[in-house]
């Protein structure tokens, strides 16, 4: 085990954590405002990847692919929230079954439209290749993922902490009824947050499609990761999503590298320990 191994694996874990952050921050926000366990969140990731793939192949623009994926899936999320999930407020089991129903439908539709073959979203030339620092080699695309996650994280933090809309969202997270009482349009906040969460997951899907690829089954593959991130970090907490993503990214990467046969176990066992000590996750309050 050389120093290069540790540096390279740490960086891989970091960049995977960055991708997880895009996926899980949305899930965490959605849960915070609406108390919804959204099992279709992995589907947003996959569908985002597919939409991004199609747009990237037609237009040759990666930026346009990211935008189109995020907007299209954001709209899908809005539709789900407005017409199906809103009426199930407070019914956990109903939400689970409803969102899994959508997840299955999305899975089958994706198979119908894009077929069963795996694809990779084409990425621009400037993001390919590697950077060499000392003895360690860093793929540029992975650096790009980390940069995107940092920008998104900062933007989310500024928006939540410094703007009027952010204050409305935080109020709705804390106490939806009181927020409604002081004149905040909570249903509209929910709708926006749902669109934002779905869009972020889709953005993760397009970017993830550049190095993990897009393929059938990606939805249910990333979903448990997103869940572990928000469980470890604490539901509805942005700092929690950051910490959870990093931890899960690193644990998963080192687990796969060091104990390949037990790799999922090395991911989920620490989560169980954290929960045993802090049942609401590292930053959770409820």
């Amino acid at each position: 085990m050389s120093a290069e191994f540790w540096i390279a694996q740490s960086f891989n874990g970091l960049s995977y954590g960055a991708l997880l952050f895009l996926l899980a921050s949305g899930l965490s926000l959605i849960f915070g405002v609406m108390r919804i366990v959204n099992l279709a969140h992995g589907s947003y990731f996959m569908l985002g990847g597919y939409v991004g793939l199609t747009v990237a192949l037609r237009t040759n623009s990666f930026a346009l692919a990211c935008l189109a994926g995020a907007v299209a899936i954001g709209l899908v999320g809005m539709g789900m929230e407005r017409f199906f999930l809103r009426r199930l407020r407070g019914e956990v089991l109903g939400q689970v079954l409803m969102t899994i129903g959508f997840a299955l439908i999305f899975q089958d539709l994706a198979l119908l439209i894009w077929g069963g073959d795996p694809y990779t979203v084409p990425i621009p030339k400037m993001l390919t290749g590697t950077v060499r620092v000392g003895g360690a080699v860093f793929p540029i695309f992975r650096i790009f993922i980390v940069a995107v996650a940092v920008v998104v994280g900062l933007a989310l933090w500024l928006a939540m902490d410094r703007t009027r809309v952010g204050a409305m969202i935080r109020a709705a997270v804390d106490d939806a009824e009181m927020a409604q009482g002081v004149g905040i349009n909570v249903p509209r906040v929910s709708l926006m947050v749902f669109a934002l969460g779905a869009g972020l997951a889709a953005l993760g899907g397009v970017i993830g499609g550049g190095f993990l690829g897009v393929y059938p089954g990606a939805d249910f593959e990333v979903l448990p990761y997103a869940f572990v991130v928000v469980i470890v970090g604490g539901l509805g907490s942005l700092p929690g999503a950051v910490a959870g993503s990093l931890l899960v990214g690193l644990l998963d990467n080192f687990g796969k590298a060091l104990f390949p046969e037990l790799s999922y176990f090395t991911l989920f066992a620490p989560m169980a320990i954290i929960l045993a000590i802090r049942p609401t996750g590292l930053f959770g309050r409820i």
């Binding site: 849960f31 108390r35 366990v37 099992l39 199906f84 199930l88 019914e91 956990v92 089991l93 109903g94 689970v96 079954l97 409803m98 899994i100 129903g101 959508f102 997840a103 299955l104 439908i105 899975q107 089958d108 539709l109 198979l111 119908l112 249910f220 979903l223 448990p224 869940f227 572990v228 928000v230 469980i231 539901l235 390949p260 046969e261 037990l262 790799s263 999922y264 176990f265 991911l267 989920f268 066992a269 989560m271 169980a272 929960l275 045993a276 049942p279 609401t280």
Partner: protein, 307 residues
């Protein structure tokens, strides 16, 4: 009320037993599958319907039971009773460990933790290749022999599974009408009040959790014999959620409802997939339809009409 339910159970089991000889091999096989999956659905009902805990990891115990049978029969040629005992025992141990972690949590957290714990088992099945053969699964599980009777042909195996399901049904039925079962239902109604009344809420929930795992594992052991093949698919999240759907579709908190739900889903799956490849699309529609149009399940809808 209890007498009427017992009578209903006896009639259902007798009808299923009498139907056996009249059916040809394929419908009989599907019916066997339904009977096995019904045990799984009822095991989840003990937790969800009677204790009010929605678990997203029921496939874990099912999978543990199935894998134990698969490994013991193919690698060690062990007999039926030893395999059943080992499978149920390991599923029980798994549930006992998972319960310690999960019971602390409530509501949504419980849901997510059981999901993640279920994924631990899936991860082991998928990655621990030297034990589970990974994604390829374990094939070639032979049908068992019981007391010198070979249960290879569809009909004897059907009767064996039906007897097992009847036994499980009776045991779970006795559980939910026992004083302990009343305690479980009290917790579903109001945890705080039960606490105030001096009930050990944690112990009730934990015991229900473990017992639910016992029957989930039992169903998994039968499944391994039925299918002759186990793979990580049997343990995946979708299997857990499908079980939840069966409970919701039939009507939670009734035992017979989830069994009925299991039957409907198994039949739909087997017959619809003959005619169309778009089974998932239809299943997804069923999920959404149940929530929109029959939120209390079929049994609930029937009861509502009678009133």
């Amino acid at each position: 009320m209890i007498r009427r339910r017992a009578l209903l159970a006896a009639v259902v089991i007798a009808a299923l037993a009498l139907a056996g000889p009249w059916l040809s091999a394929y419908p009989l096989t599907v019916l066997t599958q339904a009977v096995i999956v019904a045990i799984l659905a009822m095991s989840l009902d003990v937790l969800l319907g009677y204790t009010g805990l929605a678990s997203l990891g029921q496939a874990a115990y099912f999978g543990v039971g199935a894998y134990v049978v698969a490994i013991l029969t193919t690698e060690h040629q062990m007999g039926l009773l030893a395999c059943l005992a080992a499978g149920v025992a390991l599923a029980t141990v798994t549930a006992a460990v998972f319960g310690l972690l999960a019971i602390r949590a409530t509501g949504t957290y419980f849901l997510m933790i059981t999901l993640a714990l279920g994924m631990v088992i899936w991860g082991l099945a998928y990655r621990w290749v030297s034990l589970t053969k990974g994604d390829n699964g374990i094939a070639g599980i032979p049908r068992p022999t019981l007391l010198g009777i070979e249960l290879i042909a569809p009909l004897p195996f059907y009767y064996f599974c039906l007897a097992c399901a009847a036994l499980a049904w009776v045991l779970m039925g006795l559980l939910v009408i026992s004083p302990f079962g009343l305690g479980m239902r009290g917790i579903r109604g109001s945890e705080g009040r039960m606490q105030a009344l001096g009930y050990n809420v944690w112990l009730h929930k934990y015991t229900a959790f473990v017992l639910s795992g016992v029957f989930g594992g039992f169903s998994g052991t039968l499944w391994a014999y039925y299918n002759g093949f186990v793979s990580p698919n049997d343990v995946q999240l979708v299997t857990s959620v499908e079980t939840l759907l069966m409970v919701a579709l039939g009507g939670s908190g009734t035992l017979i409802g989830p069994a009925l739900g299991a039957g409907i889903i198994v039949f739909l799956k087997n017959f619809v997939s003959v005619y169309t490849k778009r089974w998932l699309l239809i299943l997804g529609g069923v999920y959404i339809g149940v929530i929109l149009f029959a939120p209390s399940g079929l049994v609930g809808a029937l009861r509502g009409r009678r009133r």
